[in-house]
């Protein structure tokens, strides 16, 4: 589907939503629910909380369907809203989350990147394909970390290589993936930016 067709369809759905169409609401919900919950999962680790946040957002969308003003794309609007709600939730926690460090704080404070975020449902398929094109040594380390959740030092001792070599292969794997998916990331930008 081209960018224009996608936008057109979404505009039609939003129009029907503003008139109170349950069907349009359900279509939008199905289109975004899973991806938004997984996106929330990158900020908050509890699935129940993430699902709650996204469901409440959709309820708000419904409640305010008549006054809805979406200046950016719907995708960007939803991601921004989910992120704000997640950050709000974390702010209310008494025990600070583990990944509340400088890198995290800074990368979350930036608003402009919601357009560039690629949803799980779209990226994962591409990622699986790209994984098969990695050099075997990099892929092995990457998958040990990813699927078996092994720490670097555990991988190092299992493969009998240095920890530095594990670091090197991990970063090479990610870099290769990024290069393999570079065109795809570019394409995503053209597809979903108005």
């Amino acid at each position: 589907m081209s960018n224009n067709e996608h936008n057109f369809l979404e505009q039609q759905l939003l129009k029907q939503l503003s008139k109170g169409s349950h069907d349009a609401f359900a279509v939008l919900f199905r289109q975004y629910y899973k991806d938004l919950v997984l996106y929330a999962g990158t900020i908050i680790r509890e699935q129940v909380v993430c699902e709650d946040i996204v469901q409440n957002l959709f309820l708000k969308l419904w409640k305010e369907r008549e006054q809805l003003m979406i200046r950016s794309s719907l995708k960007s609007f939803l991601i921004t809203a989910v992120r704000n709600r997640c950050l709000d939730h974390i702010r209310h926690l008494t025990i600070r989350e583990k990944h509340h460090d400088d890198v995290w704080a800074f990368s979350q404070s930036n608003d402009q990147d919601t357009e560039k975020y690629v949803f799980y449902s779209i990226l994962n398929k591409k990622l699986e394909e790209a994984l098969h094109q990695l050099t075997p040594a990099c892929r092995q380390v990457f998958e040990m970390n990813r699927f078996e959740h092994l720490k670097y030092h555990e991988i190092a001792s299992q493969l009998q290589i240095s920890q530095r070599a594990v670091e090197d292969r991990m970063s090479k794997a990610l870099k290769q993936l990024r290069v393999l998916l570079k065109d795809f990331f570019l394409l995503m930008l053209f597809f979903f930016i108005k």
């Binding site: 349950h22 609401f25 359900a26 919900f29 199905r30 629910y33 899973k34 919950v37 997984l38 999962g41 990158t42 908050i44 680790r45 699935q47 993430c50 699902e51 996204v54 469901q55 959709f58 309820l59 419904w62 409640k63 709000d88 702010r91 209310h92 008494t94 460090d101 400088d102 890198v103 800074f106 990368s107 930036n110 990147d113 560039k116 975020y117 690629v118 799980y120 990226l123 994962n124 990622l127 990457f142 970390n145 990813r146 720490k151 670097y152 670091e167 090197d168 991990m170 970063s171 990610l174 870099k175 993936l177 990024r178 998916l181 990331f185």
Partner: protein, 331 residues
């Protein structure tokens, strides 16, 4: 790609897989802030990383169940909204729907029976009604107004527990009196606001136009001038007069909330009443902070969020949103 870039790619990967040390985190944060391109590179790798290692199994997300649950609430909300609308119409049209009960009471002078109508605005909702003499009344949340179905020839008397705004139909022969537990307000044709909840020790009357007399419990009569807000303290048995910003006291009738350098204690009390919420201030040091803002149509969440931005508070929603606890951020 040069070796410096390589170094940061390794750092990012280590960070994402949770292997970076505190020093490495700091280096990375510094690098990210150095150039917007760095952040973009980081975000792209993080996007890839997050997709490769989702926080929970995508298949474990039950989209159908979630949609069913949300749809249920969507339908419920529609009927609640209709019910609120119906209550409003009912109050205006005088239909005895709004928790109205009719009872009899004996008038001691002439020993005749008068039928009293009682209108209740439950917590979290406001209502409007027109009395038999065409006097218009806005009743605030948690208030009860009793009035006779037909007024006597010589006087119009209503009884209020709570807060109301009156636009009294002029009639020189038939003075209009609002009775509350402690105060009485006498008017001819005028607009004024009364705040007299039985559970509060502070009561107030604000005169908007015309002329009223406030009768205090110890029989002192205070004439008010337009724009004056009288506040009576039952515990001190004394009153104060205030002529600043009088609109804020009765802005609720126009669905507005106005705070004009009011204490946070007052702000939260007003929010509790307006939204039927239970906001509990956990650090009493907060109560004396002053707040200034105007709201119209905002949800409670939005107001709390706004408060949090300008006041040293953080709040925590507990027990399925029934209680909201407010803390001082420095505590």
């Amino acid at each position: 790609m040069n070796t410096e870039d390589n170094h940061y790619e390794i750092l990012i990967t280590k960070y994402l897989s949770g292997e970076a040390s505190a020093a490495e985190n700091e280096t990375l944060a510094h690098w990210l802030k150095a150039h917007p391109d760095h952040l973009q590179r980081f975000n792209q790798l993080k996007n890839l990383w997050d997709t490769g290692t989702p926080a929970f199994q995508p298949d474990a997300i039950d989209e159908d169940a979630a949609l069913a649950q949300v749809m249920k609430q969507v339908s419920e909300k529609a009927s609640v909204r209709f019910w609120l609308y119906a209550q409003r119409v009912a109050a205006i049209l005088f239909l005895p729907l709004l928790a109205t009960c009719i009872f009899f009471y004996t008038k001691q002078n002439d020993q005749t029976y008068t039928t009293l109508q009682k209108v209740i605005a439950p917590y979290g909702s406001r209502t409007e009604l027109t009395l038999p003499d065409s006097t218009h009344v806005y009743l605030n949340a948690g208030s009860t107004l009793s009035y006779p179905v037909t007024f006597k020839q010589s006087a119009r008397e209503v009884t209020l527990n709570g807060e109301a705004y009156f636009e009294v139909k002029a009639s020189a022969q038939q003075p209009f009196t609002v009775k509350t537990k402690q105060l009485q307000v006498k008017a001819l044709g005028t607009a004024f606001h009364v705040n007299a909840y039985e559970h509060d020790s502070i009561m107030a009357v604000t005169l908007v136009s015309g002329k009223v007399h406030v009768l205090l419990p110890h029989a002192e009569q205070v004439p008010l001038t337009v724009g004056t807000h009288l506040q009576y303290s039952a515990s001190k048995n004394s009153y104060t007069l205030d002529r600043e910003n009088s609109y804020k006291w009765y802005a609720w009738k126009d669905n507005k909330l106005l705070f004009r350098d009011d204490s946070l204690a007052y702000v939260f009390k007003t929010l509790n009443q307006f939204y039927h919420a239970r906001i509990v201030v956990k650090d009493s040091s907060l109560n004396s902070y002053r707040y200034r803002a105007s709201f119209e149509g905002e949800t409670l969440d939005e107001i709390l969020h706004a408060l949090q931005l300008s006041m040293p508070i953080r709040y925590q929603i507990k027990q399925n949103r029934k209680v909201i606890e407010v803390y001082h951020t420095t505590h």
